[in-house]
């Protein structure tokens, strides 16, 4: 397990985010890209039907039940390059809430505005966004307001334009980059004015609290989770 350096710990505490360049590379990245593209393509027609029926969002789509579709989507949950940091920040008591394997269309406006996901009273809630393709500036890259995760930060209000958020930082990156952030912090997907969809995976974790995730939540992949660490991460044994 690769534990965070003192500098990384300090940045996490102070800024609320860490960037892991080349977090996934080589054959694993190819596996991830291949599985992503295959399943995104396979699921697209059904998603469009659901959009037409008013049952799904029109501006992005997630591959349903990705953990059941390819083992690579499980393997990235506890991937060594960032897993140690996740464990360290949650006192080695981490659970997975779920993955979002997401394709975001180019669109004149981002599909979401600046927001935090949870309030300060929530147990530590962490997201890791992994770029599956290269994400250039202006193509839906992640944006975050460093320090906005702190209890005394703000107050913040949502600006009309993403780029108008005071103090924000944007995170273009190469495929395989992982961005870890405290979900109390204000974040967004910047506008995608390119002609390339943004492909990314958002992994959602939390510091364990009793009963947060039941043993049935990830039961369908139980066979793939044999080590005690994995079974704990996926809340498989209650």
């Amino acid at each position: 397990m690769i534990l965070p350096t003192p500098e990384q710990k300090a940045q996490w505490e102070e800024k609320g985010y860490l960037v892991f360049e080349n977090a996934i590379q080589g054959e694993d990245l190819k596996r991830l890209q291949t599985a992503f593209d295959y399943w995104a393509d396979a699921c697209k027609a059904e998603w469009l039907d659901r959009v037409e029926a008013g049952e799904s969002v029109a501006t992005f789509y997630d591959i349903p039940n990705p953990l059941e579709k390819d083992p690579i989507f499980i393997d990235i949950i506890d991937y060594p390059s960032y897993y140690g940091a996740l464990m360290a920040f949650t006192d080695h008591d981490l659970i997975l809430l779920g993955p979002q394997v997401r394709t975001v269309a180019p669109w004149p406006v981002s599909y979401t505005g600046w927001h935090p996901d949870v309030g300060q009273s929530n147990p530590l809630h962490i997201k890791v966004q992994i770029y599956v393709n290269d994400v250039e500036p202006g193509s839906g890259e992640f944006g975050f307001v460093p320090g906005s995760h702190k209890p005394d930060a703000g107050p913040y209000t949502r600006p009309m334009r993403q780029e108008s958020m005071p103090g924000h930082k944007t995170f273009p990156g190469k495929a395989g980059t992982a961005i870890m952030f405290n979900s109390c912090g204000w974040h967004v997907s910047m506008d995608n004015h390119s002609d390339t969809p943004r492909k990314s995976i958002i992994l959602i974790y939390e510091k364990r609290t009793p009963g947060r995730i039941g043993p049935g939540q990830f039961a369908s992949i139980s066979d793939y989770c044999q080590t005690p660490e994995r079974r704990k991460l996926f809340s498989l044994d209650g």
């Binding site: 469009l48 959009v51 037409e52 029926a53 008013g54 049952e55 799904s56 969002v57 029109a58 501006t59 992005f60 269309a105 180019p106 669109w107 004149p108 406006v109 981002s110 599909y111 979401t112 505005g113 949502r158 009309m160 334009r161 002609d195 969809p197």
Partner: protein
């Protein structure tokens, strides 16, 4: 500040003088005439209203609407319809707006790619001529987009930033097959618990020419008046668009029996109780007066 009901319908019995389409909900002998509306408005201190055409898009189908606008030029403005696939929509729109009180047109489809990932060229959208005409002649576009059309909107808005746009009924985009009529004769639109529109139509708040109706709550709510389950939607729209771009409306006559016109005049106070007096006055009429250019009473 006038109080303006920014979206409703009136119709009379189908006749040679006033031809219109008929349905189970508006059979030939049903009428919801303007006099009945005026009675409700009088009773509840509503000064003006937007009459929205229904039951047919032909010029002849608009006769009753045109008569109402002629008879009460200071009380009402009108929104017309354009027949789908009309070979020359500009001519149709021009004829209906020739000093008649009709200020714009309502529609739900834009005729662009179904797939948001497709290449977008607005000039190839079938609705492009309507938007172009609206831009050239300063018409208002009154939009109730189908779910599969919502992603096309920002491309058209970018192409025609001068066009005043009013998104109907809480900026909802009804899904195919999700529309029905309830026991009170009201439209019902089945929506998901998660608000999908915050990722589509709510995102159009960035465009200053886009406005939204706070109306139609009865059609989307799982509760009775005052539809508290939709308070979050109202707060989201207020937060995104601000109090200067929201317009209250009742959707008369569908609401006459349940919950009744009078109750709906209080729905904004119920769902947005923290509005200032000035903000409430804007939503209840000030914005409609300014944006739609209602005449002085």
């Amino acid at each position: 500040m006038p109080r303006i009901d920014a979206h409703l319908h009136v119709f009379t019995k189908a006749s040679a003088e006033f031809p219109r389409e008929i349905s189970d909900v508006w059979p030939a002998d049903r009428e919801e005439p303007v006099e009945k509306l005026l009675g409700e408005m009088e009773k509840h201190q509503i000064d003006q209203a937007v009459l929205v055409q229904m039951a047919g898009a032909s010029i002849a189908n608009h006769r009753y609407l045109l008569q109402c606008l002629r008879e009460y030029p200071n009380r009402f403005l009108g929104i017309g319809l354009v027949p789908e696939g009309h070979p020359n929509p500009a001519d149709h729109m021009a004829e209906l707006t020739d000093n008649t009180g009709i200020i714009g047109f309502r529609f739900s489809t834009f005729g662009g790619p179904r797939d948001i990932f497709a290449k977008m060229d607005v000039r190839e959208f079938s609705a492009y001529p309507i938007w172009k005409c609206a831009a050239e002649r300063d018409y208002v576009l009154w939009l109730y987009p189908n779910a599969i059309n919502a992603h096309l909107l920002p491309y058209l808005i970018q192409a025609f930033p001068q066009v005043r746009i009013v998104l109907n009924h809480l900026a909802v985009c009804p899904g195919n097959g999700k529309f029905s009529w309830d026991a009170f004769g009201r439209p019902q639109v089945q929506v998901t618990g998660y608000n999908l529109f915050m990722h589509t139509t709510y995102r159009l708040a960035r465009f200053e020419n886009v406005n939204v109706h706070l109306s139609g709550q009865y059609a989307f709510s799982g509760e009775e008046f005052p539809y508290k389950d939709l308070a979050g939607w109202h707060h989201g729209l207020l937060s995104g668009f601000g109090a200067k771009r929201l317009m209250w409306a009742t959707d008369f006559p569908w609401i006459l029996e349940e919950p009744g016109y009078g109750k709906l005049t209080t729905v904004i106070e119920e769902l947005l109780p923290n509005l200032s007096e000035a903000e409430l006055a804007d939503i209840m009429g000030g914005n409609a007066k300014r944006i739609l250019r209602f005449p002085a009473l």
